[in-house]
C-alpha cells in the first residue's frame, strides 16, 4: 500500500504537470481546475501515507550495480515533510486560481509548480543519496523557472539566475558529499551512511559533513548564501509562498536533520551549524527591520526563521527544528498568501505606499494578524510553541552567546513583524489605492491556513510519535502534546523569550511607528542594502567571472592555426606528464 501511495504522491503532480501543459493555454479554466485537482490528490495521498509510516523502504528497485537501488522510505521525517510540501503546495495552487487569473502562459506556470511539488516529495522520500541529488536539482530548476516566470522583466530573470547559481553551489556540495560517501561505503543508500558513519575515516566524514552543510545553507538561503532568497521575490506571490513555506528552503533543513546522527560526532560541525543559524537569523532580522518592500520583509523573516531551525539542529534538537519547520510552513504560507492578496488588490509591493488598508480589507487584515502573531511568537499560536521549544533546546545544549543572540533575534522578530503589519494595515492611508476584491479561492486557502496557525501545534504529539518511532538512528524521546505544553510553560527559556518579545513589542509601540515611516538610520540601511557586505562580494564574483571570460575571449580566434597550436601544446603537456609522471 505504502509503495502505491508513494508512486501516487510523486506521480499525480508530475502527470498533472504534463497534462496541464499539453492542454494548452487556450483553455485556462481547465488548466486551473486540473492543476488544483492533481495537487489536491497528491496532498490527500500523502495524508493517507501518514498511516503507513515505516523505517523500512517501501519501494526497492534494483538498478544494477553502479547506482545502488532506487528506494523510497516512508519514515516520519520524510512523510511529515511530504505532507507539508503537498498540502501547503496544493493550497498555493488553489490560491493561484485567483491570483494568476488572466495571466498568459498558465501551462508553463502550472507545469513548473506541479513538477516542483512532486520533486520535493521525491527528494524527502528518496532513500538513495544519488536520487536525492536528482530531485534536489529538479527543485533548483523549477525554482529558477518560477522565479523568472515573468521572463520579460529583467529583474525577475536576474533573480532566477541568481537563485539557480547559488543553489548550484549547494548542489555541488551535496554531490561531492554523496560521492565521497560512496567511495567509502560502496553504496548510495542513506541508511548505510547513517548506520556505518563510524567506519568512515574522520577526514572523509568531516568532508561529507561540511559539504552537506554547504548544500543545506545554499538551499535554505542561510548565511553566507542568504542573498538569493530576497531577489526571488520577483516571482508571482503563490510561488514565493511555495518556495518559502512548502518546498525549496525546507530541503536544506531536511538534509541537516536527516544526517544529524551521522555528523554529530564530527569535530566542529555542530558549532559550525549553530554559527550558520545564529548569523542568518540575526542579520536577516536586521534586514527585515529596514525593508520597505512587503514581500522582501517576509523573505528576510523566512531566512531568519530558517536560521532558528538550523540553530536547533546544531544544538541537537532535530525534533524542535522539524516542529518549527511545520509551524513555519503554515504561518509563513498564510503571511505570503495574504501579502499576495494585498498586492493583488492594490497593485504595489511598497509598504510606504500602503497604510490604513485594514479598514478596506478586513479579511486580509485579520488573517495577516494571525500569521504575524505566530511569527512574532505570541502564545497560543503555533509559532510560539515551536520557537519556545527551539530556545529551550538552545538554552540547554548550545553555547550561552548563541542562546543570547537568538533571544535578541526573537525580540527583533516581534518588532519587525509589528512594523510590517502596522505599515500595511493600520495608520492613515498614505495614498489612495484602488482596491480589487479578494477572490473566493484566495479566501478558502487563507482560511484553511489561518485555522492551521491556531491549531497545528496540537499535532505536536503526533509529529513526535512518528519521528520517535520510525527513525532508527535519531534519538528522539516520545513526548505527548500535553507534556510538551507543561515543559514549555514551566521552562525558564520560555519566560526569557516572552520577556524579550514583550520588550520588542514595547519598543515598537514606543518608537516603532515613527521609525517605520521615517528613513532608517543611514548606517543601518547601508548595511542592510548590501546584505551586510555580501551583495558586494556577490558582485565581485560576478564581475571576476565575466571579466575573466571577456579576457579569455581573445584566445577564441576561430582560426585553425591557433587551435592546432593549442592541440599540439596540450599534446606536449600530456606527453611530458606521461614521461615524468611515470618516472616519479
Amino acid at each position: 500500500m505504502a509503495n502505491i501511495l508513494i508512486l501516487l504522491i510523486i506521480g499525480f503532480p508530475w502527470l498533472g504537470a504534463l497534462i496541464v501543459w499539453l492542454i494548452g493555454d487556450a483553455r485556462p479554466k481547465t488548466q486551473h481546475t486540473l492543476a488544483v485537482a492533481f495537487s489536491l490528490l497528491s496532498g490527500i495521498s500523502s495524508l493517507i501515507l501518514l498511516a503507513f509510516i515505516n523505517s523500512q523502504p517501501a519501494i526497492d528497485l534494483s538498478l544494477g550495480t553502479s547506482f545502488g537501488n532506487l528506494t523510497f522510505t516512508p519514515d516520519g521525517l520524510a512523510v511529515s515533510l511530504t505532507v507539508i510540501a503537498t498540502v501547503v503546495g496544493s493550497l498555493a495552487v488553489l490560491f493561484s486560481v485567483d491570483y494568476m487569473r488572466g495571466e498568459a502562459q498558465l501551462g508553463r506556470y502550472y507545469f513548473m509548480v506541479l513538477f516542483f511539488i512532486g520533486a520535493m516529495a521525491g527528494l524527502v522520500l528518496s532513500g538513495n543519496l544519488l536520487f536525492t541529488f536528482f530531485f534536489w536539482e529538479i527543485t533548483a530548476l523549477c525554482s529558477y523557472g518560477l522565479i523568472s516566470f515573468y521572463n520579460d522583466d529583467p529583474k525577475a530573470v536576474a533573480g532566477g539566475i541568481k537563485a539557480l547559481i547559488i543553489t548550484q553551489v549547494g548542489g555541488v556540495g551535496l554531490l561531492a558529499g554523496a560521492l565521497i560517501s560512496y567511495a567509502n561505503l560502496g553504496s548510495f543508500q542513506i541508511s548505510e551512511l547513517l548506520g556505518r558513519a563510524d567506519t568512515i575515516p574522520t577526514a572523509a566524514l568531516s568532508f561529507i559533513a561540511f559539504s552537506f552543510l554547504i548544500a543545506a545553507a545554499a538551499k535554505s538561503a542561510q548565511f553566507p548564501f542568504h542573498t538569493w532568497l530576497p531577489d526571488a521575490m520577483e516571482a508571482p506571490t503563490p510561488i514565493s509562498a511555495l518556495i518559502h513555506a512548502a518546498t525549496m528552503v525546507n530541503a536544506g533543513i531536511y538534509l541537516l536533520a536527516r544526517f544529524y546522527p551521522a555528523f554529530e560526532s564530527v569535530p566542529g560541525w555542530k558549532t559550525a551549524v549553530i554559527l550558520v543559524g545564529v548569523t542568518s537569523a540575526l542579520i536577516t532580522a536586521f534586514m527585515a527591520l529596514t525593508a520597505t518592500d512587503l514581500k522582501r520583509a517576509l523573505a528576510y523573516s523566512t531566512v531568519s526563521q530558517l536560521g532558528y531551525m538550523v540553530y536547533a539542529i546544531g544544538a541537537g534538537g532535530v525534533l524542535a527544528s522539524q516542529f518549527h519547520l511545520f509551524s513555519h510552513a503554515v504561518f509563513k504560507a498564510l503571511l505570503f498568501l495574504t501579502a499576495g492578496s494585498v498586492i493583488h488588490a492594490v497593485g504595489t509591493r511598497d509598504m510606504r505606499r500602503m497604510g490604513g488598508l485594514g479598514a478596506k480589507m478586513p479579511f486580509a487584515r485579520n488573517v495577516f494578524i494571525i500569521g504575524a502573531l505566530a511569527l512574532a511568537g505570541i502564545p497560543i499560536f503555533n509559532g510560539f510553541w515551536s520557537k519556545e521549544l527551539i530556545l529551550e533546546v538552545g538554552l540547554e545544549h548550545s553555547p550561552m552567546w548563541a542562546y543570547a543572540l537568538m533571544l535578541l533575534g526573537a525580540g527583533l522578530t516581534a518588532f519587525y513583524t509589528f512594523r510590517m503589519t502596522w505599515m500595511v494595515f493600520f495608520g492613515t492611508p498614505r495614498e489612495t489605492l484602488h482596491i480589487h476584491p479578494i477572490g473566493l479561492a484566495m479566501k478558502i486557502s487563507l482560511a484553511v491556513l489561518s485555522i492551521g496557525t491556531f491549531t497545528t501545534w496540537l499535532l505536536f504529539g503526533g509529529l513526535n510519535g512518528i519521528l520517535s518511532t520510525s527513525l532508527p538512528f535519531h534519538e528522539i524521546e516520545a513526548e505527548s502534546t500535553l507534556e510538551m505544553i507543561k515543559a514549555v510553560s514551566f521552562a525558564p527559556a520560555t519566560w526569557f523569550a516572552l520577556l524579550v518579545v514583550t520588550l520588542g513589542l514595547g519598543l515598537f509601540f514606543a518608537f516603532g511607528r515613527k521609525f517605520a515611516l521615517s528613513e532608517s538610520p543611514a548606517w543601518l540601511s547601508t548595511l542592510t542594502e548590501s546584505s551586510f557586505g555580501f551583495e558586494p562580494v556577490n558582485r565581485f564574483v560576478v564581475s571576476l567571472v565575466s571579466n575573466g571570460a571577456e579576457k579569455l575571449r581573445a584566445t577564441q580566434t576561430g582560426q585553425l592555426n591557433w587551435n592546432i597550436l593549442a592541440i599540439v601544446g596540450a599534446l606536449l603537456v600530456v606527453l611530458a606528464a606521461l614521461v615524468w609522471g611515470g618516472a616519479l
Binding site: L560, N561, I564
Partner: protein, 103 residues
C-alpha cells in the same frame, strides 16, 4: 641510438606527425590543409601497423589501418569538395579570411 628496424619506423612516425602538425600550424590554404591532414593520417596508419607488429597482432594492426584508409579517403574527398564550394562562394581559399568574412 642504433638504427634498428623498429627505430627507423618510430622515427618515420614521429617525423610524419611533426610534418603534419607543422603544416597545420602554418598553412592557410584549405587544399593544403587537406594535404597536411593526409600526412598526419598516414603517420597514424603507420603507427597502427607498427603497433600491430610489436604487439604480435599484425593482422589486427593491418585491418585497422585498412579501415582508417577508407575513412580517411572519405574525409579527404569531403574536405576537397568543401574547399571547392568555399572557393566558389567566397572567391578565396584562405582560411583566416573566410572566418573574418563570416564575422
Amino acid at each position: 641510438m642504433k638504427l634498428t628496424e623498429i627505430n627507423i619506423i618510430l622515427i618515420g612516425i614521429v617525423s610524419l606527425l611533426g610534418v603534419g602538425f607543422y603544416g597545420l600550424l602554418i598553412t592557410r590554404n584549405l587544399i593544403k590543409v587537406v594535404m597536411v591532414l593526409q600526412i598526419l593520417v598516414k603517420a597514424v596508419v603507420l603507427a597502427f601497423v607498427f603497433s600491430g607488429k610489436v604487439s604480435g597482432n599484425l593482422g589486427l594492426g593491418q585491418s585497422i589501418a585498412a579501415t582508417v584508409i577508407v575513412a580517411d579517403t572519405i574525409v579527404a574527398v569531403v574536405g576537397l569538395a568543401l574547399a571547392v564550394q568555399v572557393r566558389r562562394r567566397f572567391g578565396t581559399l584562405d582560411a583566416p579570411e573566410i572566418s573574418t568574412l563570416r564575422g
